[in-house]
Symmetry: C2
Subunit: 404 residues, 2 copies
């Protein structure tokens, strides 16, 4: 008789954003006229840039012609895209990354969820707290996190590294040494970042202690400060200890197009085993590439026109971020992030719980945000707003909050 | 110190099609003028049909406009596509499948590789032999198959169910009862199929013994005989024991567009746990949907024009299949499949090994096929040719084989 993976049953409730979506859908159903402003899930709102649309149309036409049709993609992804990434995202920043260390995927969420498969079940995982839920949930499914205590809302085997206002959102090295460390910089959900020196400290820590760092740089396009690294490979020794995950979702509005990539350097080995070769084997066995037309769209992100257009989009989201953050601060809220990131992380007023504030904002101001506690226990009492709406809606949301 | 998933190291050599691709690339490099006919990997060659190209262009335009832009897709996939599938692939064949039991994905390979995650590590797996390598390799990575014996080329914990000429490619029920049974019908690689009564026998066996069937129907569009089921849900009791995986790759030439789906009925439960809910949780946690434009392309496959166009493509591939099979039979080869499938499975001549015949065909006739032994020990002495080339190349390949 077959039996199911018991680890799945350990997961409490459903995936954070699914819960938010259900709550909003229920509210909208009961209040069909409510004009809801969505600053919740972190989905972009601006259309795909013209240079990328042109590239998509061109690639679609190629697919309709026998001479230019493309079937199965190469295992790692098309050379034209991996080479554009190597050159623009790495060589241009002084990072020594080869095109065959870059694996094109259907997005950073898939890669973030799947990467834990490379490690044995008894590895100890550490996450900053709060954190993007996929790191935790995928490791629960992989059997690494022990059991969930509903009271503390903590996993018995997971190392939590609180990132809160009190430590300026830069976690201390944990007391117990982990094997796998997830770092998301600029951070989702807090919108805060680390300096290059601080990231270097983590790379040194990892190399000193035999840890691997899963570095999620999905938001690197939003970095505005010079001393924040765009890639962990800007740090010495990162090729020996770090895997980097990147996304086109936030950089170029690809949330509905699905494209990302993961870098696994050849120098990352354990017991003589190359993690790059393991990831290549996983790609070859359980994945069949991102669509050709989407890989061409990704290439267009690096063209002179595409690059200028997506930079303008990022700048306009950052204009929203500044407006929201400054507006909230003016209203007396403690607001963080928003400088190198499209996320604003605020302290809920009057000690409200995160979910109470979610319901309050939804019902009283018709604004959807994301409850901080959904990202981990240290997120309790915080709330995330995104800058991915329109400028007009960002200002309207502020007005509504002002009138609460 | 982190440690790696030791199961990966158990995998011998690399993924079959990667090995084939490397051998062909090496040969082409040494013989740059060789006019190689590729009947190996099973990739389609005809361009995407006009009705689907139009749908893609329209969807691309939507993505370039703020009013019609689509970001993150719904967790299960867009309703328009799931509803088209429900109606055309299931209701039209008398199968009771709801739209919320259908999960849109980036292809059958991903789903075939990921589905094993739902089951505990100690489940016993059975596969027909030969078999699509993804079922086996993904279960090796999941730790279910024990150790590999290079001599027998068998996994210690895997149940092999030989499907060979001697049993007309319909395997017997295994001596030891498995927990998970993979069936691919019409079969890859043998190109053979089972009748509805035979599939019903497997459904009854599964329900009697508490097994789950992973039913891969990626080639259902190629079925020409009335008594071969297009879906396992045509059989009584399948909702209680079967998961079905489908692909647009072979049906509509989507190998480079990436679209598939998996059906997990709500009646499939174990110990009160719904496998449909588990798969929904996996989708929500480790996947972010197929691209909107590709889901629109999938919808167009079911439009009157799209449907007629993809049917014509399938028919033309089947014309190749018949030509190759009949031609080989005329030349004295024992050839199978090719009736409900684009694959022809032939006995190698003079007792040659599968890889020897691969090298022989590549070097003497510049034809690429796939060695049967790459699909499992019972594939030794067989060889797979695909009908996905052009008709002209299929005939040219036959001529070359005739002149060997």
């Amino acid at each position: 008789m077959f039996t199911v993976n018991a680890n799945y049953q350990k997961l409490p409730g459903s995936y954070l954003f699914s819960t938010v979506a259900k709550k909003v859908a229920a509210y909208q159903k009961e209040n069909p006229d409510a004009d809801i402003i969505r600053l919740g899930i972190g989905d972009v709102t601006q259309p795909i840039a013209p240079a990328i649309i042109s590239a998509l149309h061109k690639a679609v036409d190629e697919m309709g012609n026998a001479e230019t049709f493309h079937g199965y993609a190469p295992d790692l992804g098309y050379e034209f895209l991996r080479e554009a990434i190597r050159k623009n995202d790495y060589e241009a920043r002084g990072c020594d990354i080869a095109a065959d260390e870059i694996f094109i995927s259907d997005g950073a969420k898939s890669d973030s969820g799947n990467i834990q498969e490379l490690f044995s079940e008894d590895n100890i995982v550490a996450v900053t707290d709060p954190v993007y839920p996929v790191y935790v949930d995928s490791n629960v499914m992989g059997g690494r996190l022990g059991t969930f205590d509903p009271k503390s809302e903590k996993w018995s085997e997971l190392i939590y590294m609180p990132s809160v206002a009190e430590n300026n959102f830069v976690p201390d090295f944990p007391e117990k040494t982990p094997d796998i460390i997830y770092l998301c910089i600029p951070n989702n959900p807090t919108g805060t970042s680390m300096t290059k020196d601080e990231v270097q400290g983590w790379v040194d820590y990892a190399n000193r202690n035999g840890c691997v760092i899963i570095y999620d740089a999905a938001y690197e396009a939003y970095i505005t400060e010079d001393n924040v690294p765009h890639s962990i490979y800007e740090c010495d020794g990162a090729r020996e200890c770090a895997i980097e995950i990147r996304s086109f979702s936030k950089k170029a509005g690809f949330t509905g197009l699905r494209l990302g990539f993961t870098v696994v350097p050849k120098d990352l080995k354990q017991g003589g085993v190359s993690l790059r070769d393991m990831w290549a084997r996983r790609h070859g066995t359980k994945f069949n590439g991102a669509p050709y037309i989407v890989q061409r769209a990704g290439e267009a992100v690096y063209s002179p026109e595409g690059s200028a257009q997506v930079s303008a989009q990022v700048a306009s989201y950052m204009k929203n971020a500044h407006a929201i953050k400054d507006g909230l601060s003016d209203l007396g809220y403690n607001a963080y992030g928003g400088v190198n990131s499209p996320y604003i992380w605020l302290k809920t007023p009057n000690g409200m719980s995160s979910w109470d504030f979610f319901d309050f904002l939804l019902e009283k101001a018709n604004i959807v945000g994301t409850p901080g506690s959904g990202f981990g226990p240290s997120g309790e009492g915080y709330f995330r707003l995104t800058a991915f709406g329109t400028y007009e809606n960002s200002i309207r949301a502020l007005e509504r909050i002002k009138n609460l």
